[in-house]
C-alpha cells in the first residue's frame, strides 16, 4: 500500500481517478489549483486506487495524503 502525498499546497480543482481505477506512472491523479495555475498531479507508480481522501474544492497542504494506492 502506498500513500500518495500532495507536492504543494493548493485547492483541489479536479479529481481524475476513483477507487478501483488502475493507474500507471505519469497518469493524472488530481488537478490542483495553486497561485492561479492549474497543476496536474501525476502518479509515480503503478497501482490500484484504494481511497481518494479529497474532494473538489478541498484545501490541501504540501505533504497531505490525498490518495491511497495498492
Amino acid at each position: 500500500m502506498a500513500e500518495v502525498a500532495c507536492p504543494m499546497a493548493g485547492v483541489v480543482a479536479e479529481v481524475k481517478v476513483q477507487p478501483g481505477d488502475t493507474v500507471e506512472p505519469g497518469q493524472d491523479l488530481l488537478i490542483l489549483e495553486s497561485m492561479k495555475m492549474m497543476i496536474p498531479f501525476q502518479s509515480e507508480t503503478n497501482g490500484v486506487v484504494r481511497e481518494v481522501k479529497v474532494n473538489v474544492g478541498d484545501f490541501v497542504n504540501e505533504g497531505d495524503v490525498v490518495i491511497v494506492l495498492e
Binding site: G10, M35, M37
Partner: protein, 448 residues
C-alpha cells in the same frame, strides 16, 4: 487631497499604495480575506476590515462588501491597484453611484478599452496603428479561415474580452486554426463569460513595448516614455526595463504621440498604459490599453523621477496635472525583476509556503517593493508575486550590475523563488546585448 483612502487590493501593490498615501498624509483602510489576516498590507494600514473567505470571488472581488467597508470607514476614495477590480467598469460605476471616488479612469474609458474588438476600432479611427486583422470579430470557424487567408498565416486567435495572455493561441496553418478556434472559444467562455473571438496577424519575434501615460480630469495628457516588457513566461512579464534598448528618440516620439492620441480618443483620465507590439523593422502596433497602474510602473518612476501612484491620487482628487511633456526626460536606466514564489528549475511551478528567512539588501539605487516578510506564509490562493526588485544605474550595464548584486545578496528560505532565473537571465549574453524578444526564455534555454 483625500483624508482617507480604501485600498481594494493585497500584496505588494497594496503596500505601495499605502506608502503613497502616507507620503501625502492620507489615512488608509486595508481589506483582507481569511488567508490574509497576517498580510503586510493589513499591518501597514491605519485600519483593516475583514471582507470574506480566501477565494477572491468571495473577498477581493466582492464589490458590495468592499463598498460597504469604504462607506463604513469613512473613506472618500478607493484605489483598486492592478488586477482584481482594477479594470472592472461596473465596479467603478458602483463607486460613483455610492459617492466614492474610484482612483482610476472614468468607467466609460475603461469600457472603451475593455472590449478588445471595440478598442481596435477606436484606435484605428484615432490613427493609432493596429495589428493587421479583422476589426469586427469573427462569428465562426469559416469566417476565421477566410480572414486568416486574407491576412496570411501565422495568425493569433484571441478572446475579445480577454487579457493577461489567457485565451490566445497561435496558428500556423488551417489545421492549427481549427484547433485554436475551438480551444480559445471554450477558454474565453470559461474565463471571461464571453466566447467571442477575433483574429490578428501574428508578429514574429515581437517586442512588447508599452508607453506610460498620465492624464488629468481636464484632458491634459502626457506620456512618460516606454517600458520594455518582452521577457515573459506564460505570456506574463518577468523582467521589465526603461528605456528600451530597441527604441531610438524618433521611435519614442512616434510611439509616445500615438499613446497620447489613444488616451485622448477615449477621454482617458488618470494613469494608464498603452501596450504595443514592435516588429524587428520597428513598426509598432497597438495591442491594448491597461486602464490602471501597471506592475512594472517603478522603472518609469526611477527614470523620470515622477511618482505615478502619487499622481493617481492627486488627479483623482481633482488636482490638475502640472507636468508638461517637455518636463519628462530620461535619467539613466532601470530594470525590474519580478520575484515570484515559483521554482524556475521546475518550469516555474508555484511554491507557496512559509518564508523562514527573508533578507533583502539596501543598496543605493536599488528599490524593493515588497508584499511579504520573514515568517509570513505565502498563500496558494493568490498570485505568486512576492516582491519587485528595481535597480537604477546611469547606464544599462550599471543597472544590470546593481541588480545582480542585489539578487546575489538576497536570502530567501522556506520557499522557492524566481531569483535564480533572474540571475541567469541578467548574466546571459542575450540579455546583455539587449536581444530581449518575447521568445527570450526559449532562446535562453537554447543558448545554454
Amino acid at each position: 487631497m483625500f483624508e482617507k483612502v480604501l485600498v481594494a487590493n493585497r500584496g505588494e501593490i497594496a503596500v505601495r499604495v499605502i506608502q503613497a498615501c502616507q507620503k501625502l498624509g492620507v489615512k488608509t483602510v486595508a481589506v483582507y480575506s481569511d488567508a490574509d489576516r497576517e498580510a503586510l498590507h493589513v499591518q501597514m494600514a491605519d485600519e483593516a476590515y475583514h471582507i470574506g473567505p480566501p477565494p477572491v470571488a468571495q473577498s477581493y472581488l466582492n464589490v458590495e462588501r468592499i463598498i460597504q467597508v469604504a462607506l463604513e470607514s469613512g473613506a472618500q476614495a478607493l484605489h483598486p491597484g492592478y488586477g482584481l477590480l482594477a479594470e472592472n467598469a461596473s465596479f467603478a460605476r458602483r463607486c460613483r453611484e455610492k459617492g466614492l471616488i474610484f482612483i482610476g479612469p472614468r468607467p466609460e474609458a475603461m469600457e472603451a478599452m475593455g472590449f478588445k474588438v471595440k478598442a481596435r476600432r477606436i484606435m484605428q479611427e484615432a490613427g493609432v496603428p493596429i495589428v493587421p486583422g479583422n476589426v469586427d470579430g469573427i462569428q465562426d470557424l469559416e469566417e476565421a479561415k477566410e480572414v486568416a487567408r486574407e491576412i496570411g498565416y501565422p495568425v493569433m486567435v484571441k478572446a475579445s474580452a480577454g487579457g493577461g495572455g489567457i485565451g490566445m493561441q497561435i496558428s500556423r496553418d488551417e489545421k492549427e486554426l481549427e484547433q485554436a478556434f475551438k480551444m480559445c472559444e471554450a477558454r474565453a467562455k470559461a474565463y471571461f463569460g464571453d466566447p467571442s473571438l477575433y483574429l490578428e496577424k501574428y508578429i514574429e519575434e515581437p517586442r512588447h513595448i508599452e508607453i506610460q501615460v498620465l492624464a488629468d480630469n481636464d484632458g491634459h495628457t502626457i506620456h512618460l516614455n516606454e517600458r520594455e516588457c518582452s521577457v515573459q513566461r506564460r505570456h506574463q512579464k518577468v523582467i521589465e526595463e526603461a528605456p528600451s534598448t530597441f527604441v531610438d528618440p524618433e521611435l519614442r516620439q512616434k510611439m509616445g504621440a500615438a499613446a497620447v492620441r489613444a488616451a485622448r480618443a477615449i477621454g482617458y483620465n488618470n494613469a494608464g498604459t498603452v501596450e504595443f507590439l514592435v516588429d524587428p523593422q520597428r513598426n509598432f502596433y497597438f495591442l491594448e490599453m491597461n486602464t490602471r497602474i501597471q506592475v512594472e510602473h517603478p522603472v518609469t518612476e526611477m527614470t523620470t523621477g515622477v511618482d505615478l501612484v502619487e499622481w493617481q491620487l492627486r488627479i483623482a482628487a481633482g488636482e490638475p496635472l502640472t507636468l508638461k511633456q517637455e518636463d519628462i526626460g530620461i535619467n539613466g536606466h532601470a530594470i525590474e525583476c519580478r520575484i515570484y514564489a515559483e521554482d524556475p528549475d521546475k518550469n516555474f511551478m508555484p511554491s507557496p509556503g512559509k518564508i523562514t528567512r527573508w533578507q533583502v539588501p539596501q543598496l543605493e539605487g536599488f528599490r524593493a517593493d515588497v508584499g511579504v516578510y520573514e515568517g509570513y506564509t505565502v498563500s496558494p490562493y493568490y498570485d505568486p508575486l512576492l516582491a519587485k526588485f528595481i535597480a537604477w544605474g546611469p547606464t544599462r550595464d550599471g543597472a544590470i550590475e546593481l541588480m545582480l548584486r542585489a539578487l546575489g545578496t538576497t536570502v530567501v528560505e522556506g520557499i522557492k523563488t524566481s531569483i535564480p532565473f533572474h540571475i541567469k537571465a541578467l548574466q546571459s549574453k542575450l540579455f546583455r546585448e539587449g536581444r530581449t524578444t518575447t521568445n527570450f526564455i526559449d532562446q535562453l534555454k537554447k543558448e545554454e
